[in-house]
Amino acid sequence: MGIRTLIVMLVASVVIIAILATQETYRIFVPGLLEGALLTAKITVLGALLAVAMGVLAALGKLYGPAPVRWLANIYIEIFRGTSALVQLFWLFFVLPQFGINLEAFTVAVLALGLNIGAYGAECARGAITSVARGQWEAATALNMTRFQMLRRIILPQAFIAMIPPWGNLFIELLKSTALVSLITLSDLAFKAQQMNQTTMKTIPIFTLVLLIYLAMSLVITIAMRYLEQRASRGLARGRTV
């Protein structure tokens, strides 16, 4: 879907939410849900930052680290991909305090989701880095660059562009998993929805709004990533021949 179609869809969903906000049955729910959506957005952004950091680190560790580092990276990836986000979330929320580590629910949320998505991201990053053509490595070697210089200036910038689409999908998964934090008492969009539903039992209006809000947020992510991809590959003219 072109970036234009996506923007149209985003505008459409926002317009629909706005229209519904004027309707009697929907109006009361909108402010509370938007408040929850704000918390959801915060967790998503912070979780995304952690995920990218962990994913790239784990990929680099797995590809170029000494044996203990490779081992650690693999363990991190296997554990966080082999168990679901909810298991990880509950573990961090319920078990850490038993070891004396008392973190705020918000911190636990960002940590669990960031580490979870980061483990999947490591695969993306690894694939993107190894997909950078061998010739680039050889040219950099011929210019006598150190491994670090090669990675930082030549390989990673090119890998970065290849990584953007799959990371975009992962960020949407991250957005969806934020709903889980409602189960550790955080007042995110899902929590607010549940809360309102319990009290008013007006399931359809509430969840229609919730659906539209999540949809709008995921469209924002997709559009942002497309834009990022366009900016980053400026000048690269991938696929175009001279």
């Binding site: 991909r81 082999g82 298991v87 509950f90 319920f94 399931t203 359809i204 919730v210």
Partner: protein, 218 residues
């Protein structure tokens, strides 16, 4: 810290709960694979359904599974039907993953060379026979690993059913924790169980992939 005696004590309880988790997984997956196939076939058999189905699929894939579980559990009572938590949960899992499976089937069907369809028409085969004898036997084997991956994904999502109090593994672990104030052992054991199942199924799927991709001797 870690109490081995306690861990062994709760194992039987968790084992019982694991059965519920596995039941939910299997029923949910049967629903997902079946409904997914229906959706994929409908798009081909009745082209006017293609657009509504893709919108539905997009909607399901873009919103959290947890929300869908809540929705299904709470929406039915407003119509006077009460579903028990297990049924609602499995229904939600099934519909959610049916959306993903339908995409897998779609890719599988798309990969069938056009000539197969055309030969079937030339031989005057009925649509039903074409699907049954020509298309499906060719489309399914390559996509089995992808379906397998969704089976595993579905299994890993069963803890979400704890949100509507289904007595699967995670819910049981939380109950043990709240009753004994020892959360470490139950939740860690649940985590290890999922990890083990994930690793085992990953190698099973790889083996299935190798088996399906073996080339017959010519």
């Amino acid at each position: 810290m870690w109490d081995w005696a306690f861990a062994f004590e709760i194992l039987p309880i968790l084992a019982h709960a694991a059965i519920i988790s596995i039941e939910a997984t299997l029923v949910g997956f049967v629903l997902a694979a079946g409904l997914g196939l229906v959706l994929a076939l409908a798009r081909i058999a009745f082209p006017w359904t293609a657009w509504p189905i893709s919108v539905l699929v997009e909607l399901i894939r873009s919103t959290p599974l947890l929300i869908q579980i809540f929705f299904l559990y709470f929406v039915f009572p407003s119509f006077g039907i009460t579903l028990d938590a297990f049924t609602a949960g499995v229904l939600a899992l099934g519909i959610h993953y049916a959306a993903y499976c339908s995409e897998v089937y779609r890719a599988g069907f798309d990969n069938i060379h056009r000539g197969q369809w055309e030969a079937s028409i030339a031989l005057n085969l009925s649509a039903w026979t074409t699907f049954r004898d020509i298309i499906i036997p060719q489309a399914i084997p390559p996509i089995v690993p992808a379906l397998g991956n969704y089976l595993v994904a579905l299994f890993k999502e069963t803890p979400l059913l704890s949100a509507i109090a289904v007595l699967e593994l995670m819910q049981t672990a939380k109950i043990i924790g709240s009753e004994t104030f020892r959360y470490t052992e139950p939740i860690t054991l649940v985590g290890l169980f999922f990890l083990a199942m994930s690793l085992v199924s990953a190698s099973l799927i790889r083996a299935a992939e190798r088996y399906l991709n073996r080339r017959p001797a010519r």
